[in-house]
């Protein structure tokens, strides 16, 4: 085929997608260079939600930092709360009562469900089907109700404490949790019938933005995005913390069932399946939760020993690692947080090359990024 050189000269168009755009999941700005509908380059521009959370950590005490972790990933505040608590406990070698650990696992997994629900719902809304979004929100409200019962807040929970949790589960909480699980589990099949295997939906996601396993590892992807590429890496299994080793659950990986391994559909399906696994974990935890105190004795003016530590936990959006240096005072000396979404953005430019504008939306949704986690 010969290329004509006398064709109508065309120019690439630069489009600003965001920071105000319905499907950039917050204030992400993507600078698109497009040739018609085809994206030749998509450069993410992050930082619109920077709140210096790491620097704030150097100003406040260890206990005071807990509410700030709520704002790290507000869709999975429990996970961030617990990650912080686990980090400080690891640094100060605090023994946590077992009941507290069970409660933490319950809330973490419930929060994983609610976070994945948002990922699922907003993704379908990005793809143009608005109805599943509202179904997802409906289910999430019930998780919020549970959390409200437990800690009094619906979004920013501040539930975990260094050395335990803020309060024991109120009477009826565990029963309500079980009721929710019974209600929720069949809904997943409904979602699959409604949208997951819908022909149009599959066509929109399958073979889009394929990330091979080696590449996913090389770019440091974690969480569902990594598992979507077929890498069975889950910190809950591979670097067990808390009481996770006591539970029986499966690590969900992408299978390439509707396209290539590591495409958007795989990442999407991993989340759907993970919700099922989380239900399993919560069921076991609720059944086996021991009695006892929920908070270890931690002095009010808590001063951890001098030293440094790195702790990572499996959050819904990948690995949340917290690097903490203590100089023995009441405030952390230095705090660095590694979040899944931020690292995921590295590969964004690479996978979006040559896709269509609509696919860029699909990629953002399939990464399930959240901006406060990216910008911190």
């Amino acid at each position: 085929m010969t290329t004509r050189t006398d064709a109508l000269p065309t120019q690439e168009m630069t489009i600003n997608m965001g920071p105000q755009h319905p499907s950039t999941h917050g204030v992400l700005r993507v600078i698109l260079t497009t040739d018609g509908e085809v994206v030749t380059r998509a450069v993410p521009d992050v930082g619109y939600l920077h709140r210096a959370l790491e620097k704030i950590g150097e100003r406040v005490t260890y206990a005071q930092y807990m509410p700030f972790t709520d704002r790290l990933d507000y869709l999975a505040a429990m996970n961030c709360n617990c990650a912080w608590a686990w980090t400080v406990e690891k640094l100060a070698k605090i023994e946590v009562p077992e009941r507290a650990e069970y409660l933490r696992v319950i809330v973490c997994e419930l929060n994983r469900i609610s976070s994945h629900l948002i990922a699922f719902g907003s993704y379908t809304a990005d793809m143009g089907a608005f109805t599943p979004f509202l179904y997802a929100i409906r289910e999430r409200e019930q998780v919020n109700d549970l959390f409200e019962m437990l800690c009094g807040n619906r979004l920013t929970y501040n539930y975990a404490r260094v050395g335990g949790v803020s309060g024991d589960a109120p009477p009826g909480f565990l029963e309500k949790t079980r009721e929710f699980l019974d209600y929720f589990e069949p809904k997943l099949d409904e979602y699959n019938n409604l949208i997951s295997y819908n022909k149009i939906f599959v066509h929109r996601l399958a073979n889009v933005a394929v990330i091979p396993a080696e590449e996913a590892v090389a770019y440091g992807l974690t969480g569902p995005n990594l598992r979507g590429s077929g890498v069975p890496f889950d910190l809950r299994k591979d670097e067990p913390y808390s009481v996770y080793p006591k539970f029986d659950f499966k690590v969900c990986v992408g299978t390439g069932e509707r396209g290539t391994l590591g495409d958007c559909f795989d990442r999407y399906m991993v989340r759907i399946n993970e919700m099922r696994e989380s239900v399993k974990i919560v069921r076991q935890a609720v059944a086996r939760i021991p009695d006892g105190p929920v908070r270890a004795k931690v002095p009010r003016l808590f001063k951890p020993p001098v030293g440094e530590t790195y702790f990572r936990s499996e959050c819904p959006r990948g690995e949340t690692g917290i690097y903490l240096i203590s100089d023995g005072s009441v405030n952390p000396f230095r705090l660095k947080i590694r979040t899944g979404s931020f690292v995921t953005m590295n590969i964004f430019e690479k996978v979006t090359r040559g896709l269509m504008i609509a696919d860029v939306v699909a990629v953002i949704g399939s990464f399930d990024i959240i901006l406060p986690e990216i910008d911190r």
């Binding site: 005071q64 009094g152 109120p170 409904e190 019938n193 295997y197 022909k199």
Partner: protein, 207 residues
Amino acid sequence: MGLKAYLNDIVEAVVTTAKGMRITARYGVNPKEEVTLQYPEERWEIPQGYRGFLHNDIKTCTACNMCVKVCPVDCISLESVRGADKKMVLCSYDINIGRCMYCGLCVEVCPVNSLKHTSGYEMASADRGEMILHFIAEDAAEIKARVARQVAEAAAKAAEAAKAAEASKAAEVPKPADLSAEAAKAGGDDPKAAKAEAPKAAPEKKE
């Protein structure tokens, strides 16, 4: 693409669409599935430990300053002076509810349980100043002046008493209960003060 795959594509599209439409239709015809809460008319039940607006019971507050220290966003401000009985007397206790992030740390540390979360959550204001809850209506300077007066009086009394004691060896202790009760009463009785307290009182009424 072979003909079989081609027809398969069509059939699959029709079948999956029909599946999805069956689900939406089921929701569409079943009015019981509605989950909307008609907010101003209907409200959900507030659970026991709900973290609503903060409320400080001034009568029991000991002005220990713990809440101020623990607040990560510095939304509580407290002024106190040492009273005649060596106890702290609150001069002002303000909570900037617009800045508060309802983390509950202050409630947790309160040694006398005077600071509590109420179940109130409704506040809209066009003015940020209105979002600062004043728990002591009386002017801080007035309280300070009064306490200073009382301290001086007490000191004078103590000196007198000391003199008297020297004389009669009978000790007279100044009444501590009087002072704190008086300070608390000052807030409640003043009609103007009651009016100023109105925004604070509103969330309580909800209970």
